[in-house]
Assembly symmetry: D2
Homo-oligomer: 342 residues x 4
């Protein structure tokens, strides 16, 4: 059965990645693509790598005809998404790739995003889109909130450990190495090739990164108490990829076994043999996440490292995985492409 798909905000990188994935999907058909500033252009003009595909021309948001659309992927700036989604026909399912529906608490939303939410009913209804942990809810959801890419990566490393109570909840430290595509196609001097290609530098450090709101919400829900992690992202010169080095306290072998057991049946989460560490180059272009666990010479210290492609498993791949569930398709449909290496 074919499902009609609309992508709002198709001119950003996550929009392009959605198109790339859906091009290989057996039952999704793209019927509308919106991009306000690039309305009127073809996708081939905006993204020449998609030139071989037969795709609708980009239109502005208010030109999209939602009749017959089964599911919308919204890849819009935060703030805008909530305004758009609340006016969509009730028959249309929605996967939001932005930040608007990730936090359930309006106060938390306002704290991290600096403005009151305009669709608090939807905010409550939305299911958090970390597929491996919200699978059943997602199946029946009308609105799924895609997670932050950092948020997904770190949660893959930590959720089973928090749930199993095998690490010290008061001393969790996550140091991330991030490809610049996580910043999207926005025009900033420090995102120019000239400035990123020979640099490594931290950003949004000290506890101000908005994905912390997701960690706080999710980890508290699992632990039944507040869990406040330290989280530090760094930009590294690789297009795609997040490597999250998560430093925890516990027994290394127990940590490894807990993760291996938790993900044993997961199609996309691979736990490496004990002592091996993943590389972002080994998941590029794919929906896979690789997780490694290493002990330390200091007893009771454990390093859990998770690698994902931020545009795919961290965003658009996750979105398609959720859409598959929402539309009754096989969860892995269109998503089993192997990573591209070298």
């Amino acid at each position: 059965m074919t499902h009609n798909i609309a992508i709002l905000g198709a001119s950003g990188y996550t929009g392009a990645e959605l198109v790339r994935i859906i091009a290989g999907h057996p039952s999704f058909r793209i019927v509308a693509l919106s991009a306000d500033r690039k309305a009127g252009m073809t996708m081939a003009e905006v993204y020449p790598h998609l030139r071989h595909l037969a795709l609708p021309t980009l239109v502005s948001l208010d030109e999209v005809d939602f009749a017959g659309v089964d599911l919308v992927f919204a890849a819009l700036p935060h703030g805008l998404s909530q305004a758009i989604v609340k006016d969509l026909p009730a028959s249309v399912k929605v996967v939001d790739l932005g930040a608007d529906f990730r936090l359930r608490d309006p106060a938390e939303y306002e704290k991290w995003y600096g403005a009151a939410h305009v669709a608090t009913d939807l905010q409550k209804e939305a299911v958090y889109g970390l597929t491996e942990f919200y699978r059943d809810d997602i199946k029946g959801a009308r609105l799924v909130a895609g997670t932050g890419c950092n948020a997904a990566t770190v949660q893959f490393a930590l959720r089973p450990l928090i749930a199993a109570n095998v690490i010290d909840l008061d001393d969790i430290l996550c140091d991330l190495k991030n490809g610049p595509t996580g910043a999207g196609r926005s025009l900033k001097e420090n995102m120019l090739f000239a400035e990123r290609s020979t640099d490594v530098q931290g950003y949004a450090q000290g506890g101000v990164h908005r994905h912390l709101g997701e960690f706080d919400q999710e980890f508290a829900a699992i632990a039944g108490r507040p869990v406040t992690i330290q989280f530090t992202p760094h930009l590294v010169p690789v297009n795609r990829g997040i490597l999250a080095s998560c430093y925890v306290k516990g027994d290394p072998k127990t940590v490894h076994q807990t993760l291996a057991h938790a993900y044993a049946e997961e199609p996309f989460i691979v736990v490496l043999p004990f002592g091996q560490q993943p590389g972002v180059g080994h998941v590029t272009g794919s929906n896979f996440a690789h997780i490694g666990v290493t002990g330390d010479r200091i007893s009771g210290r454990v390093l859990v490292t998770a690698a994902v492609d931020n545009l795919c498993k961290g965003s658009s791949g996750q979105a398609v995985q959720n859409a598959n569930l929402m539309l009754g398709e096989d969860e892995t449909a269109g998503l089993m492409m192997a990573p591209v290496f070298p």
Copy 2:
């Protein structure tokens, strides 16, 4: 119908790329992987990005059991391939990704590769594997010789122009920009990250690159007379990709129309609108080739630029495309994955 596939030389980059592609192929099943120096290792150890796949353990060449194998991909060093292929069971079809069967004339082989060919019968029998131009022969072939990656790229730009006699055959100049994966996984100082990542430099210049043998053979066959091109490759710091800037003399619009017409029905060759130029980033990880045509302020000069992913369309993608034909499958089976950008 499932076809049993063996890959000889699976530990090199083209071997890994074959596995990546076949992982998404509807009817190919890998039953044997050989790699002499890495025999006994799993593919996950040699290429962690393929870790999620169920694959046979690597064995040495003489351990491969060819019973039940329908087709062999040979990704072996030149010289070795001819020795191996000539002893394979006659029932096994072969796509050779190396250089051993590209040149039909034993004298030419010896001239470019410095040693006499040891399987001259097979050399004559082999079909040159540039799919778009040898499709019918490939369908019935037992042995297909994969082309050089540079050779494929340049031929996509030039063959229709030579065939249509719309360019000056005595003044063809091709300047190539090549990603280092074309050199394979060989250990050389100038292939280290430290030495390539901030450098651009020519190599094998002045008419000594072995792919010239292919150009001479093929272009003479099309033109009915010798065609001697000038050909200069340069290493650029991008993993995958060849951009061939081919400078020819003729009428720009005629050149564009000739190419557009020649490739109008081809699933993988895209001719851009006149005046647009392709980028290697727009074909990365895919089996597509993009071709652009631009005129010049100097009347009668034309620039034809072709972009391919050297590991995919330039080698392993082409190999699968040929195998599809040889085994009676749809030519595009397993090969329609969209490029990965950014």
Copy 3:
């Protein structure tokens, strides 16, 4: 003797490069830095790599006090520079790094830059800043026009050959591989790290690049007749560097000898042994240019390749070299730093 230096347009890449070079100069002292949009900021805020230097705070153009200034480096957008320079005190010497004074003919200027020149007297007075060929004029000049970075690179390869009449003037083809810093710090989607880091693509092709105006002017002056070259730049993912592959017709050994002889006494131009090719990585961060000459299997074809760092020898290094001459200093003062490799 200390010379007081002002840099107008100090917030761009060539401005920063001027500061870097002058930091090691024995007799230049920076007394003013202007940058309209960043006026009020310190250089450390705009360019943290210059943080260790004691530098004046950035001011707007009209706040610069030119009293006591010996020489101005103007690194301004074209059009603006001519308006500014014409109003400078006559006592101030000027090295213009932009395009405004490169072309002597007002009609040519208007043809390539799309607007009439507003300081045609200065345009006539300005000396073309290719130091190795205009050394004597530069010594006595008040206004020197820095060359285009591509223009410098290609002229190093070709000027002695045209002057010596050892190549065919009607068949010169230059294929360039360019680092994106040549585009400056301007904010464009295709200059983002995400879009350049895995791509190689031509730009400004077909004879529309503005540096062609310089080639036409200079080569005609040398040859005593029009010389129209074909010129095609390509963006490659390396911060600094231009590799110009210049295809000419002549005798390879004669070409090599002509270049070797022409540059035998030059401190910054190195002609490699015959058959060796330069890499941009071997001149990075320096004022050196490396030139290689190779023959071809086709008799009478020669490849001359020149490598420069576009920000240094191609722009700011050249500017300092010229300023040294204008101020009576040793031409190499502050410029002998070795390239940074790897």
Copy 4:
């Protein structure tokens, strides 16, 4: 006064970097360069970026004439260096860039390097070469042991904090992002451009990296008790640079003030304003180290980040700085070149 310098192991990256730096040094003259496997070659053949320099031809170690040599830089593999240095004439001063003399305790050396030391007398005599902290000892030393590049970077961040007792000594965690040049010019598959350019991956994790021996020795000496840090390096695709993210517990402002005060008079160590973070791109090619301090939303947590160029300040720049002291020159001679950015 001119000092005669010999470089042993000149064909590696630190050897080349020594030559680059010394090329701009006012009083060092290179009189011998050794490189066993490349003996007989010119430096221009081994490192074309040094082609403009007049340098001695490479010779084998036993061909070096030490008569008249004032100081030797030994950039040799560990194990070899101790054997060579112990047989040098007593009149020759030595800066060893390898690991052989970093650890004073023979048992510690054997533990980390797997073999007994063959020159334990010299081991005891050697001064640890972290200039900013051993300045007086270095001035009078005959043998100085260059530090590990990671060891230098992390010590810049931590030594003043341990000395001032302002951080918790039992909970120090250092996550490093390292350019691959730290591995030298050794030929390994995972150091190929193809494998590093799109990857980020940890290595030598879990407390096995040999630089831990240096931390243990140095921090215990400062603290007067054992200090065991957690230390995790990761490879990132940037040629030069180490970014050390050091997570400590203490008061952020106190930490910042302690560092700012400690380095107030240092010519090469720059402490950024509170809350700013350094980038490795801002020290590339230079002898500077940038240090940043940020607090966290979790009270009592501090992130101290240090950026150095591993080949320069982390190795060869430090070596020249030490040699300056040993030879009675100004400590900064030849070392004030500004970083190269972009």
